[in-house]
């Protein structure tokens, strides 16, 4: 169906959004619950959409959240959390900056425990389960990071098996690819980088095809990384533009597949392709580009056939899930009450909002 995006996303989140607002009864009644939400970076596109959803839903619950922008810096965020605690916060909702170690999260949990305030981590995973388990009023809401990579790999593998010859532009029997990694040392980036290729290769091998070949066989790392750690479209674009100078159809060594750790980088890469005549819709050669996030602009590109697929991180679903926990705090219930409808890890209070594959055939 051609339903508008906003309704669709509410629908996909399995009706949980209504749970939060209806159970609140008089949804607009103001609450004196002081909720502080710490975002890792206001300028992040995906996080912006979560923020928009969070703000709307919390307001509907009568809560005026205080939003904090760490601008990508863990020290800033740690300072913000401690400040909020001294200012009498009742609930901390933390989109932690640092994902390659759980020490800062541990620090925050300890500070929260000392002040007896519940803390909900979201989106960027606190890898160490012990940190979450160490405090009963602590939970994590997010995806299962490797899933995005696995799904992307599956999507790529299936797409290639179905369109192998069309994709293999030079007909040498192997698909040469490039992968754009968003940030070195970031857990999600690591997982996506690894599994997207591994899983695709598994499917290809099962289907009797050779594994993917990195476009530059001599490269020591099989990815190009935004060394500034910004996952930026511009970095991907510059890489792609300069790579196309040496690897193109003229030289019979065109990159035949592009895997990106997020949609921003995918868009940058597509723009570079479009500038030299690829991926301009029907009638032009399409180099398959896969991203993650399914941002609105990526969805538009996929719809137009200029991008091949993405993995949807459901921002509204994420917000709804978090706010179920917020509601628990508001009502004085257990933090993890009313979470039966969610996917919760067995050994730790981590709620997993599922990823979904998004391609041209996806319901909208």
């Amino acid at each position: 169906g051609g339903a508008p995006a906003s309704t669709a996303s509410t629908a996909t989140s399995g009706g949980t959004s209504t749970a939060a607002s209806t159970e609140g009864g008089t949804a607009t009644a103001t609450s004196d619950l002081q909720v502080d939400v710490f975002y890792y970076d206001f300028s992040d596109v995906y996080i912006s959409s979560v923020r928009t959803a969070m703000d709307e839903q919390l307001k509907a619950m009568g809560i005026e959240p205080k939003n904090w922008d760490a601008a990508g810096s863990q020290p800033t965020q740690t300072d913000q959390v401690k400040t909020a605690i001294t200012a009498g916060s009742d609930l901390l909702i933390v989109n932690i900056v640092e994902t390659s170690t759980s020490d800062p999260a541990k620090d925050i949990v300890e500070a929260a425990r000392a002040a007896d305030i519940p803390v909900i981590f979201f989106n960027r995973e606190v890898a160490d389960n012990e940190v979450i388990n160490s405090y009963e009023k602590c939970a994590f809401v997010g995806t299962n990071a490797p899933d995005a990579g696995h799904m992307q790999g599956e999507m790529i593998g299936e797409y290639l098996l179905a369109n192998y010859d069309a994709v293999d532009l030079n007909g040498d029997g192997t698909i040469s690819y490039v992968l754009f990694k968003g940030q070195e040392g970031n857990a999600e980036a690591e997982a996506r980088t690894q599994y997207a290729v591994e899983d695709a290769n598994k499917l290809l091998t099962e289907g009797g095809k050779p594994e993917l070949a990195y476009y530059d066989s001599s490269a020591s790392t099989k990815y190009l990384v935004d060394t500034a750690g910004k996952w930026s479209a511009q970095a991907a674009n510059d890489y792609m533009v300069s790579l196309l100078g040496s690897y193109n159809e003229g030289n019979n060594n065109m990159v035949e597949l592009i895997i990106c750790n997020n949609d921003g980088m995918a868009e940058g890469a597509i723009s570079a392709l479009q500038n030299v005549g690829y991926n301009n819709g029907e009638g032009t050669t399409i180099i398959p580009v896969f991203g993650v996030d399914a941002t609105d602009s990526a969805k538009a590109l996929i719809k137009a056939g200029n991008m091949t697929g993405s993995i949807k991180q459901d921002a509204v679903g994420m917000a709804t899930t978090i706010n179920t926990l917020v509601k628990n705090v508001q009502d004085g219930a257990d933090l993890m009450a009313n979470t039966d409808q969610f996917v919760v890890d067995s050994d730790v209070d981590k709620i997993r909002v599922p990823y979904q594959m998004y391609d041209g055939t996806s319901e909208e």
Binding site: A5, F42, S43, D44, V45, S48, S49, R51, T52, D216, S218, A219, S220, L224, V225, T227, A228, K230, S232, A233, Q234, N237, D238, V241, S242, L243, L244, G245, S246, N248, G250, N251, D263, G264, E267, G268, I270, S271, Q274, N275, V276, G277, N280, T295, D296, S297, K299, A300, L301, K303
Partner: protein, 352 residues
Amino acid sequence: MSNSTKELALKTKSITPKQVGNALLNNALIIIMLLVAAYVAVTQPSFLAPNSLINLLSLTAAYLPVALGIAGCIVLTGTDLSAGRAVGITACVAASLLQATDAANKMWPGIGTLPIPLVILIVVAIGAAIGAFNGFFVAKFKLHPFIVTLATQLILYTILLLYVQQGNNKGMAISGLSAEYRNFVVGNPPILSFGSIQIPNYVIYAVLLTILMWFIWNKTTFGKNMFALGANEEAARVSGVNVFATTIAVFALAGAMYGWAGFVESARIASNTANTGVNYELDAIAACVIGGVSFVGGIGKISGIVIGVIMLRLIFVALPLVGMDQNLQYAIKGGIILFACALDMRKYLVKK
């Protein structure tokens, strides 16, 4: 005949090793650039393929406008840290005004798609206004441009964060640009192409811009006043140069260039967020100083800036080609900046 031989001999004789050394040193950067290019070409012959060269040219063209703008600020012994955010804002504004009418999440559904010339005017004006703001504080309060533009950068970031949340956008990337816009900037097909070799339109624009800036710097009163001001503000003042207006104009011109850069980047990258443009100023400043625009003020050439930008892009393009770790690119960039500047300073150091 014997006469001319003599003359030749004399000439040859008069070129001392020291002079040769000096000539080599003075052109060291160009020499290094050529050596690097030659090395890359040998290890990766495809580097010299037309497509590869066009690619280097395109990247240079993309980063040139900001460098051309910021160079004026450096000539005034200043700098401009707000350039990147100015590019970001103008890119986002340009994108939001030139989204296709059927773009998902069209930011301003009410306006359709504005005419391209109008949008160019708007973003160049926004850039110029930002520059004029910087220039005003520099000229009026005699503040160091470093600190003024540091402040402006912060202010612009707030504006940028707020802007991308306006209309229907809600902090998402502004994309879905109209085909005419991308066509205008990149060209599909471009204005200039030789067989399969296509030169993006923005390369042509960058060339025109460079000519324009060369003209402004060298042939106009404003340009000469700018250099005099950079060399000695008091001298310019007592000679009747309107220091206040000239300073503002230099920064405003720089801002206009950022506006243009934003306009081009927006269509070139096609994904505009609050992060667009961040740190562009650092590369631009690096390119300028590598190209001999000196922080002592009053010194600089357009040709130098172009060489500086090419040089930086060459590093970026060539390193991966020869299989060098990308992590090293920063150190190499830094090393070249230090080397270029130290070399350059030899000319200005008064030996006693």
